[in-house]
């Protein structure tokens, strides 16, 4: 689905991402874990074209998308659930979902139904302004909005950020369900424990470079990962 090779991102003189390469195969959940400022968000933002990378290549189903405009990339089937939710607070839940389908010209009622089945609470609140929702509900709305574009690949930037543990569990079980329905997922998380449990494959990013990779289960057992990100390493 997605192949990233030697991706470089600079902000002014600072190299945020230094030549990272990874693959997101069809129908899998791939996760990038790492500390704050490691370059995870920059990577996602550059894939969707919000940030222009300074080097490297990004392939979506064998076509180069690096340097293309965001609306072109989105229309090719990638969506991003941005970090910090970014719902449109003054617009209703339904309007938010419709904006997610902005580039589509076909009938969206089926996808609306799908989002409402995944998130029954959004259906109850479809006429409410998004700003009045709780943090967890806003995150669900952000995910639902991204699903409205009917993407082949959904990228999520820190979906668990600032949510209560029980809500985090709920969000992750929904990510699993979205994956089961056939959507490929690229997940960026600081909550390595949860992310590695649902991931088929995982990459650890440190200081803008990939240092460890393996299946989710392998990384959960990896001593270094456990010490650095899970807080359960051997003392």
């Amino acid at each position: 689905m997605l192949i990233v090779r030697d991706l470089n991102i600079r902000y002014g003189g600072i190299e945020a991402v230094r030549g990272i390469s990874f693959d997101v195969p069809d129908g899998k959940i791939v996760t990038l874990v790492g500390a704050n400022g490691a370059g995870k968000s920059s990577t996602l933002r550059s894939i969707i074209g919000l940030v222009k990378p300074s080097g490297g290549s990004i392939l979506l189903r064998d076509s180069y998308i690096r340097g293309r405009r965001t609306d072109e990339i989105v229309s090719q089937g990638i969506t991003l659930v941005p970090e910090g939710r970014h719902v449109f607070p003054d617009q209703t839940v339904l309007e938010n979902l419709k904006i997610g389908a902005y580039l589509r010209k076909d009938d969206i009622s089926e996808d609306l139904e799908r989002v409402y089945t995944l998130f029954p609470r959004l259906k109850e609140r479809s006429w409410q302004p998004a700003g009045t929702l709780s943090g967890g509900e806003q995150q669900m709305l952000a995910v639902g909005r991204a699903l409205m574009a009917n993407p082949a690949l959904i990228m999520m930037d820190e979906p668990s950020l600032g949510l209560a543990p029980i809500v985090v569990q709920e969000i992750f079980s929904i990510i699993q369900r979205i994956h089961d329905q056939g959507t490929t997922v690229l997940l960026v998380e600081q909550n390595a424990n949860m992310a590695l449990r649902i991931a088929d494959y995982a990459y650890v990013i440190e200081n803008g470079a990939i240092t460890i990779q393996g299946t989710g289960a392998e990384l959960l057992k990896n001593e270094r990962v456990r010490a650095a990100y899970l807080g359960t390493g051997a003392k």
Binding site: I48, R69, T70, H86
Partner: protein
């Protein structure tokens, strides 16, 4: 109440409102000399409503603080004026410069001239949008304000006298056939803009306004969206300018100063940023109240107010405050009061609807109830505090 029945009632109320307006306009039209004052106010308000809604489209709905409205109105006014003045009057109007030959015999009906005004304004907005819309907030405001003044300077320039008649402006523009013509054109213009706002493009406008990062991540092209809004807004500002020229029967650059932009901005803010109905109400209120307050400009003698005093020394005394210009003092004070107490404008960012009007009594009751509850709670707390104090003292 079922949704269907609600819809039905809304339909009936809408139809009744439109019928009432038509009947009222028909009464006015039946005797235009007797009602000329009312007709003037209504036509002017309608034209300003188009300008206010067009400005609200770019400022209120798309969040781009553009202040070029007067400039586009100026273009619209001149284009409409030049294209509609009767051919046989042209030599007389352009006696100083002589009208350009290619233009001399082109005369169009008003609707066609308005459409061309809109087109020209749209194209100009498209072109200047390229550099200008890359700017944000204050910078955009300054750039568009500058553009507006440049337009005014160009239209007043001697070098273009053969086309624009320079500082003399265009006069003898044929008036509206009747009040319906003016109101209908304004109504249709506003309707087109509201339909755009309700479409998926309108949702994109609001998305860009509320959160540009999220909008872009949804695949909304920020620049194209802003440009679409700017082009449509400017085109309808041009229509409003053209209508204003027809209404005043002349187009002169001195009408289209920055003060005009501010006046329209005032209607938008007063009515409610991000509300079409608010802009319409704002346009009528500002235009109307400037007229209604005119009595404040007149000097009064006490004998005018109390005829019984006529002939006495007291009756000859003047009311000291009421004199020319006092109207604007009161107007400004009223504005401050409105802005202080309704700081989101009259309608806020929501549209005025029948449901909302019907909900007002309930909302007022709710507010009173909440106030009473708060007072009761405070009384209870005070009583509890007093009891506690007593207890502490007693020990």
């Amino acid at each position: 109440m079922s949704a269907n029945r609600k819809k039905y009632i809304r339909w009936i109320l809408d139809a009744a409102l439109i019928a009432a307006i038509l009947i009222y306009l028909d009464i006015l039209q039946a005797d235009t000399t007797a009602h000329s004052y009312a007709i003037t106010i209504i036509e002017r308000s309608c034209i300003y409503a188009v300008a206010a809604v067009s400005m609200n489209l770019i400022i209120g709905f798309t969040g781009q603080f553009s202040l070029g409205t007067a400039g586009f109105m100026c273009i619209g006014a001149y284009v409409t004026g030049i294209l509609t003045i009767p051919v046989k009057m042209r030599d007389q109007i352009y006696y100083l410069y002589g009208m350009a030959g290619w233009l001399h015999d082109i005369r169009l009906p008003m609707l066609a001239a308005l459409a061309i005004s809109a087109l020209i304004c749209g194209v100009i907005a498209y072109v200047i949008g390229w550099p200008v819309l890359r700017l944000k907030s204050d910078y955009l405001a300054i750039a568009t304000l500058g553009f507006s003044e440049i337009i005014r300077a160009i239209f007043g320039w001697d070098g273009l006298g053969k086309i624009t008649n320079a500082s003399y402006g265009v006069s003898n523009i044929p008036p509206f056939a009747n009040i319906f013509e003016c109101v209908a054109i304004c109504g249709v213009s506003i309707l087109i803009m509201s339909l755009l706002i309700r479409s998926s493009y309108g949702r994109a406008f609001k998305a860009v306004r509320d959160d540009d990062v999220a909008a872009e991540a949804m695949g909304i092209n920020l620049f194209h969206t802003k440009q679409l809004s700017f082009v449509v807004s400017s085109a309808f500002a041009g229509v409003a300018g053209g209508l204003l020229a027809v209404f005043m029967r002349s187009a002169v650059t001195s009408t289209f100063t920055v003060a005009l932009t501010y006046n329209i901005l005032l209607m938008v803010v007063l009515g409610g940023i991000g509300s079409v109905s608010g802009s319409i109400i704002g346009a009528f209120l500002v235009t109307g109240s400037q007229e209604w307050l005119r009595f404040l400009d007149k000097e009064y003698f006490f004998s005018d107010l109390f005829p019984g005093l006529a002939g006495t020394a007291f009756g000859a005394a003047r009311v000291p405050l009421l004199r020319n210009g006092f109207r604007m003092v009161i107007f400004s004070i009223l504005l401050m009061v409105v802005v202080l107490f309704w700081n989101h404008g009259i309608t806020g960012s929501r549209e005025l609807s029948w449901e909302r009007i019907a909900g007002i009594p309930a909302a007022v009751r709710e507010k009173k109830k909440r106030k009473a509850e708060a007072a009761e709670r405070r009384a209870r707390e005070e009583a509890a505090a007093a009891a506690l104090e007593k207890e502490v003292r007693g020990q």
